[in-house]
């Protein structure tokens, strides 16, 4: 462990940007976006500097820490405001600030017509700062500050156009569902303190061996709840689709590349807890497996391009969560997929934004078509992202997703075959819905509304898309080659070496590609035709209808949580007015002696009040007098 004094700048620079733009108000309208972009870029530069420093140090000296000040200290509860940059957090720092800066650049053009562009950039900087705090905090409690900080930024950005009531509702929904997850995080921290007497990562890691499995399981489950809320995993997934109400760069940055992957970070960071709590670990796998299929299914029926991508994000994070649940064999691959996904999904979201930019903000893919001729750069960069998410070699997803499928097959026991098969099925469905997106958007015939004249976006927008496309091609190989990422991260995890090999890598790849080919073929067969309806057909099977309604997730939540909650609230309000308050009024009436007592008291209130006070005072004095004499 080495000591640094410059970690705080990583967070401080973007935070200062947010503060200046928010407090400065309209005065900063002219240059606010430039300042915010510059600060995000500087933070990236600080991150790169730290990466080089880290690479040049011996392995055990690579983690760097900085203690800022004593934050909360009562009795044995002592938490410092401290930062920790290690092999895991540097990956996130570079992803957050790197992709973040690209998205700042993109937004300069994308938001140029918006009267509140400055406010948008303030929120972006706020997000970057909070997200960096999340991955740099050295204790669960510091992480918590970043954790809710990104929740706040997400709320503000989803509701950026909250003059539309539906968007305001979407932002509220996201925050509240995230709070359910946050409750899990709160309880996990309490469990850690009550059982281990510490809430720092290092402290908990040290105490794990002295702690009962029951306590660790409880903590692990609570951490999983937190992760599910932030990463839109089952059963707390329902907010992500609505979150697409935010401007598209936000969807790319927060709801695809970074914030929603915080759950993966949390579980990976807590590897010592999960490795010692097999039940919690199994639950992680189950949640990941359910979500990867759940999200993929939703993706098949979405006509809104952003919501299709959001469903895909949910599913891809399901892959990552599943990988973290596999234990030491999976952590590094979860992070690898997280990074490659950060490139290709952010790239595709920016591509979607570029399409919307050229199509008068139309999001319905049934009204796209043939756009490859009109937006060639967008087509190519989006297409690269498409090949990457499918897992076509040598694109990034090929390496990262295959590693997860392979780990699932090699995780041992009966569950391995089951999990492995699920990841393969997921790959097929992914291939289907992504091909559907490609065909509906870029192939086929024009189905545009009248007056729409698509055009390629300005270079400020396509440049970030191009950079991300390069990442979508190369990042997989770079991280995979010579087990680079695995070796980089392995000092953090207790991998006990050899795993049985159920399937050879080459077999896994062959299987995966076969599944992808099946998915692509079905999509081509179904959608590569002239007469795509511009309105979704109604005469479809019940299954399609069920999937179109997001597998009834909102209806379920409404029926079992919202309605009962509203009923309870209403009942309590009525009880309060009639019973509690009513009985008080009754008692008051009796005390005063007549039904009109209260009114009488109000009319002559000064006298009555004086009389009441007097009674009190007289009683006191009389009593004292009796006692003393």
């Amino acid at each position: 462990m080495s000591i640094s004094t410059s970690l705080v700048y990583l967070i401080g620079l973007p935070f200062a940007g947010a503060a200046i733009l928010l407090l400065g108000g309209r005065r900063t309208d002219k240059w606010g976006h430039l300042l915010a972009t510059a600060l995000s870029a500087s933070s990236f530069a600080v991150g790169v500097y730290h990466l080089f420093q880290m690479v040049n140090r011996p392995v055990e000296m690579r983690p760097t820490s900085q203690k800022l000040f004593e934050w909360i200290s009562v009795g044995s509860f002592n938490v410092d405001a401290g930062l920790l940059l290690d092999q895991l957090s540097i990956c996130f720092v570079l992803l957050i600030t790197g992709v973040g800066t690209l998205i700042h650049i993109y937004s300069i053009a994308y938001m140029s017509e918006d009267r509140d562009r400055r406010r948008f950039f303030a929120y972006l900087n706020l997000f970057i700062a909070a997200m960096l705090l999340l991955v740099l905090g050295d204790s669960y409690l510091s992480l918590y500050v970043g954790w809710e900080g990104v929740g706040l930024a997400s709320y503000l950005l989803i509701g950026f156009w909250n003059q539309k009531p539906a968007y305001a509702t979407a932002s509220k929904k996201a925050f509240v569902m995230n709070r359910v997850g946050d409750m899990g995080l709160s309880l996990a921290i309490m469990i850690a303190f009550a059982t281990m007497g510490t809430v720092s990562f290092a402290g908990v890691a040290e105490q794990v061996d002295n702690t009962s499995e029951a306590a660790l399981t409880a903590m692990g489950i609570m951490l999983l709840v937190a992760a599910a809320g932030k990463s839109a995993q089952f059963p707390l997934q329902a907010w992500l689709g609505d979150a697409m109400a935010g401007p598209t760069p936000v969807s790319a940055l927060i709801h695809a590349a970074t914030m929603v992957t915080a759950g993966v970070y949390l579980i990976t960071r807590s590897n010592f807890v999960f490795d010692a709590a097999p039940t919690a670990q199994l639950l992680v796998v189950i949640v990941g497996a359910i979500t990867l299929i759940f999200g993929a299914l939703i993706g098949t029926a979405k006509d809104d391009i952003k919501k299709a991508l959001a469903a895909s994000t949910m599913s891809q994070i399901g892959y990552m969560i599943l990988a973290t649940g596999l234990g030491p064999i999976g952590y590094a691959f979860a992070i690898m997929h997280l990074i490659t996904h950060g490139f290709f999904k952010a790239g595709m979201f920016l591509g979607a934004g570029s399409v919307m930019h050229g199509m008068n903000d139309e999001v319905n893919m049934r009204k796209y078509g043939a756009l490859r001729h009109f937006m060639p750069i967008t087509f190519i960069t989006f297409g690269i992202g498409y090949l990457a998410i499918l897992g076509v070699p040598p694109f990034a997803g090929f390496y990262s997703k295959d590693m997860i499928i392979e780990s699932a097959f090699n995780s041992g026991g009966m569950q391995a075959i089951f999990l492995g098969s699920l990841t393969l099925i997921g790959a097929a469905i992914t291939a289907f819905y992504m091909t559907r997106v490609m065909i509906l958007t870029f192939a086929g015939t024009k189905r545009w509304d009248e007056g729409v004249e698509p055009h390629e976006s300005p270079w400020l927008m396509w440049f970030p898309m191009a950079v991300l496309a390069v990442g979508s091609v190369t990042s997989g190989y770079l991280l995979y080659h010579d087990k680079a990422l695995y070796k980089w991260l392995s000092p953090l995890f207790e991998d006990h070496g050899e795993h049985e090999e159920l399937l050879k890598p080459i077999v896994v790849s062959a299987l995966a590609l076969t599944m992808v080919a099946i998915g692509v073929s079905i999509a081509v067969y179904k959608y590569m035709r002239e007469n795509i309806e511009t309105v979704a057909p109604e005469n479809v099977s019940w299954l399609t209808k069920f999937v179109r309604k997001d597998l009834m997730q909102d209806q379920f939540n409404e029926k079992f949580f919202m309605r009962p909650g509203q009923l309870l609230t209403k009942a309590l309000v009525t009880t309060e007015d009639v019973v509690v308050d009513g009985s008080v009024r009754g008692v008051a009436r009796m005390a005063i002696g007549s039904g009109s007592g209260l009114r009488g008291l109000q009319n002559g209130f000064v006298r009555s009040y004086a009389a009441l006070i007097l009674v009190g005072a007289l009683t006191l004095i009389a009593a004292i007098w009796v006692v003393v004499s």
């Binding site: 308050d581 009190g616 006692v627």
Partner: protein
């Protein structure tokens, strides 16, 4: 230096000055009140700097014979908890005066009267925390009702008279119960070592457990009404909805704290055994308050009533922290008292500005304010974030300390209480959405944004909320020795980390 006499005397001087000003010169009355409250604040800050942190005894002690034949003294002194609460009160006072510059207009009496009442109330707020003589405490405890009663009944809105009376009756009922207990203590002190009202001496009394339980209840119910704890709370929403915003701030921010302060200073110190006996019951009431207040807040249509119910939820947390009997719970509760004052002040003051601009306190009458009055809207949103205890803001630190302190001893209570954080998101974000988001609705198009005076009033509140969120140490360092001492005196030690929990 006689700090406490000076502090209690200063607002009275200000009140006297205001009273001789010509009635027509309203501005002079306001300015005099502002100058006085700022002077009081400066003296308090100076006093705080002279406070010895590690000394757990009473400091700044003063004692004058008052009614010697009854053993009654004018005795004052501070421990850390009382100091923190006085600091809180004296910071709030000038903010309230400045924020509510125009709220005395349209009252039943003159503007002058309003400020005299406020200044007299400030003296009593200091006195009630500083009193170390039970008789003196009781007199101030009851006398405080008078200015508040007139402030609500004379300068409030709507059903102000009815609300004022309800407030008064509740308080008097509580007061009488406490009075009975005080008399009993006084009697017993005569039998055991000579009549006295000195709380240090009274804490040495020998009592049978039945006596102790009964007397404890007399005090506790009085404080539970004041705080207010469910089911003694129904006066608060009416009073807060009818009072002017500034009065509401003092009512919820300071006066209600007398209840939770009293639980620590009187219930725990005078009746340690009874406190332990009733702890299970009180913890349940506290948890109910947290959830009940939150649900009721969600269901409110009136913004002021909504804020009042959020406070009931917050007082549930404070009570929980006090009776969890751990240092984290206790320090958290005291810090919570301080922090709650500022987050509630922010909410009430900003809501007050919204109401006075719109002429309505119904939430659904607002809509789309964010695009009409961005600074006002941000202020309300920020106050809301503080109320829902967003990490990074001061209320998070205290709320989390209460929860973690409760969890180590009573995990089930803590788990149920934690549901409060989800409900908090709802009771804040629902009004935020209705009032600030969406299209600008008719009647809101021409509302004016905050003026300079209002910005100056809210800025220090926001600054305190942010500063203490990141750096609560200055206050915790004052509070910790006192709370640790109380917990130790009661014979408790913090549960050691154990694998048995949960």
């Amino acid at each position: 230096m006689k700090w406490l006499t000076l502090l209690m005397f200063l607002p009275l001087v200000g009140a006297a000055v205001v009273s001789v000003l010509p009635k027509a010169n309203e501005k002079a009355a306001k300015q005099a009140a502002l100058v006085t409250t700022i002077a009081v604040l400066l003296v308090t800050v100076a006093m705080t700097l002279n406070f010895e942190r590690e000394n757990v005894g009473l400091q700044f002690v003063e004692k004058y014979a008052w009614i010697p034949s009854f053993g009654i003294n004018f005795a004052v002194g501070l421990d850390a908890i009382a100091l923190v609460l006085i600091l809180m009160s004296t910071i709030l006072a000038p903010i309230v005066v400045l924020a509510g510059w125009n709220e005395a207009h349209g009252g039943r009496w003159s503007v002058k009267t309003f400020y005299i009442l406020i200044l007299v109330l400030e003296t009593m707020m200091i006195g009630v925390f500083a009193a170390t003589d039970l008789f003196l405490f009781y007199v101030i405890f009851e006398a405080m009702l008078i200015p508040v009663y007139f402030l609500i009944g004379g300068f409030g809105t709507g059903e102000r008279a009815a609300a004022a009376v309800k407030f008064l009756i509740y308080s008097l009922v509580g007061g009488l119960l406490m009075l009975a207990s005080i008399i009993a203590l006084f009697v017993m002190s005569g039998d055991q070592f000579g009549h006295t009202f000195d709380i240090n001496e009274l804490s040495q009394l020998q009592m049978s457990s039945t006596t102790q339980n009964l007397l404890f209840l007399g005090f506790f119910i009085a404080f539970a009404i004041k705080a207010p704890v469910w089911p003694f709370h129904t006066w608060l929403p009416d009073a807060a909805a009818s009072a002017s915003p500034g009065t509401s701030v003092l009512l919820l921010g300071v006066l209600d704290k007398v209840g939770t302060f009293g639980m620590i200073r009187y219930c725990l110190t005078l009746f340690p055994e009874a406190s332990k006996t009733f702890t299970p019951l009180i913890l349940i009431l506290a948890v109910i308050s947290i959830l009940y207040g939150a649900f009721l807040a969600i269901g409110q249509k009136d913004i002021k009533r909504l804020i009042a119910y959020t406070s009931i939820s917050h007082f549930g947390f404070i009570t929980l922290g006090i009776f969890a009997m751990t240092t984290q719970g206790h320090s958290g509760a005291v810090l919570y008292m301080f922090n709650h004052a500022f987050s509630t002040a922010a909410l009430f003051l900003v809501a007050g500005w919204m109401i006075s601009r719109r002429g309505s306190s119904t939430i659904s009458d607002f809509g789309g304010l964010q695009r009409v009055t961005p600074v006002l809207a941000w202020s309300f949103f920020f106050a809301g974030l503080s109320s829902l205890a967003l990490p990074g803001l001061s209320s998070f630190v205290s709320e989390f300390l209460v929860l973690v302190g409760t969890f180590t001893r009573y995990p089930v209570h803590a788990i149920i209480a934690t549901f409060g954080i989800v409900l908090a998101a709802l009771y804040i974000l629902i009004p935020v959405q209705k009032a600030l988001h969406g299209p600008t609705t008719p009647g809101n198009e021409n509302l004016k944004d905050l003026n300079l005076r209002e910005k100056i009033a809210i800025a220090p509140v926001a600054a305190i909320i942010v500063f203490l969120g990141f750096y609560p140490s200055p206050l915790l360092k004052i509070i910790n020795p006192a709370t640790t001492n109380i917990i130790a005196q009661l014979g408790f030690t913090d549960p050691a980390p154990s694998i048995e929990d949960k």
